[in-house]
Point group: C2
Chain length 328, copies 2
Amino acid sequence: MAPSAQSLPTSVSDEKYANVKWEELGFGFCRTDNMYVAKCKHGESFQEGKIVPYADIQISPCSAVLNYGQGLYEGLKAYRTEDGRIVLFRPDQNALRLQSGANRLCMPYPTVDQFVSAVKQVVLANKKWIPPPGRGTLYIRPILFGSGPILGSLPVPEYTFTVFACPVGRYHKDNAGLNLKIEDKFRRAFPSGTGGVKSITNYSPVWITLAEAKAKGFSDVLFLDAATGKNVEELFASNVFIVKVEERVVPVEDLLDAEEVFCTGTAAIVTTIASVTFKEKKTEFKTGDKTLAAKLFATLTDIQMGSVEDKKGWIVELTDATKPGLKL
Amino acid sequence: MAPSAQSLPTSVSDEKYANVKWEELGFGFCRTDNMYVAKCKHGESFQEGKIVPYADIQISPCSAVLNYGQGLYEGLKAYRTEDGRIVLFRPDQNALRLQSGANRLCMPYPTVDQFVSAVKQVVLANKKWIPPPGRGTLYIRPILFGSGPILGSLPVPEYTFTVFACPVGRYHKDNAGLNLKIEDKFRRAFPSGTGGVKSITNYSPVWITLAEAKAKGFSDVLFLDAATGKNVEELFASNVFIVKVEERVVPVEDLLDAEEVFCTGTAAIVTTIASVTFKEKKTEFKTGDKTLAAKLFATLTDIQMGSVEDKKGWIVELTDATKPGLKL
């Protein structure tokens, strides 16, 4: 190690934190210091982008994303562990999902290495925004979209890949479990649509259902499949699990018969569902410390926070390339 | 009339034109001089916006449109008539469609008067970009989108309404009629989705079908309904008509039995369909000057260009408010 490196701090304990009231953190937008931007012309490949100060994006009024919804997003988190490391959880899987979505929406995409490198750079460039252990996480939002102007016909001349980040607390505020409304009118995904990828077009069309459910005091909505309107699909931003049911098509009746129900997602982590309301009838489920959801939440977050050993190779630790020899 | 106004030109004949090779105009993006921008905070109403020089839009990386596809577009045209007037065609109908879409996507919207006024201002601010009579039209693109940052939950803090314009020629280049491919895998609209409004989320998810069809030499794709996969819906950007069939559900068999087929749209105007290919089998239809499509095209464009009387009140003539007494 070079002599100059010896004087550097060797743990995050002497790092400065941003001026955030960590105990009040929700899951909302919070401006941080830096973001990553890479652009790519039609017919070319994404090259290495760069970290720039966080700022508004400049985009053509006639861009593909503003006019035709050509965009994808990802969501993952950086965790500050009890022993002072900064880690990611399976970021390669986000990269692969983005690639799958880019193929579906006719866009070029960054390689897995470019994607993971961009995420790491954004985390390191916003280090002081990573909440202290147990107080929250740094949510990382990669977006890929058609930024070039297009009016009538393909191709889109330019694409942009951007990564930014915000410190977040819990996504669902209902600590006693979620109270869901089964959406009985609007469907979300349909066969041959974009339900299998993280297209931006999957979200705003069903905001109307979330707004209506929240106005009635529900925590979230549960969608049924578009083809039959009889099978359980997912919550607005998380997957749904029913205890003692294998991965298969789940009719609403099976859901209402379940002992325990929970949902998962990057934002939701593992969250107990306390009730589901279908056609005005409310059905309640097991909640509290004895649920499988509570055990899964504890195990998953213990792995992510470094207090339980990662035997699957899911954790990616960040090293600050600008400070050789320093482990964050 | 004030003396100063008497020296103003009284027809567009002495206006300057932009430096455009009008005979080469296609339906692509072309940068013009000015655009209209209005913004609106959550919980407020759209106020009068302003004309600004055409430029990139500055938008939050965490904006609702970039991350969740909250956006709508409209498309209409300004026509330069043979007798030197500049007119619009039923712009109030575009305003009403935008309002319907805004309700569906949980956005505030401009009033009909604000919308039509914004369109007029954009046309007047880009007057020299309106092609000479018979050489094309000025395509006007209003967009409404969630421009404020949002991560986890509603509401979106800010919305933007923008209008820009580009001179355009014909949308379809196939003068002898379109050769369509019936899309047999991907569906476009589905029950309770956004197919009834002009959401940006209706477009990029089916670009993959258009790209595939164009690569095989087809002019456009024809979508079937998502619920059954058996009934005719629409082309990528226009409606479809089958001669001698009333407005009703149209099974593919009825389409293939038709004598004549054509499509309509702001961009497509009225365009003859020469053939449809379904499961590798090509069916041809009547084309040429004797088609109903040719008569409808002539009548509609004659009304729009002022050479046939408008008995329906569809034409809106522009008056330049900055030059009292001057009719454009």
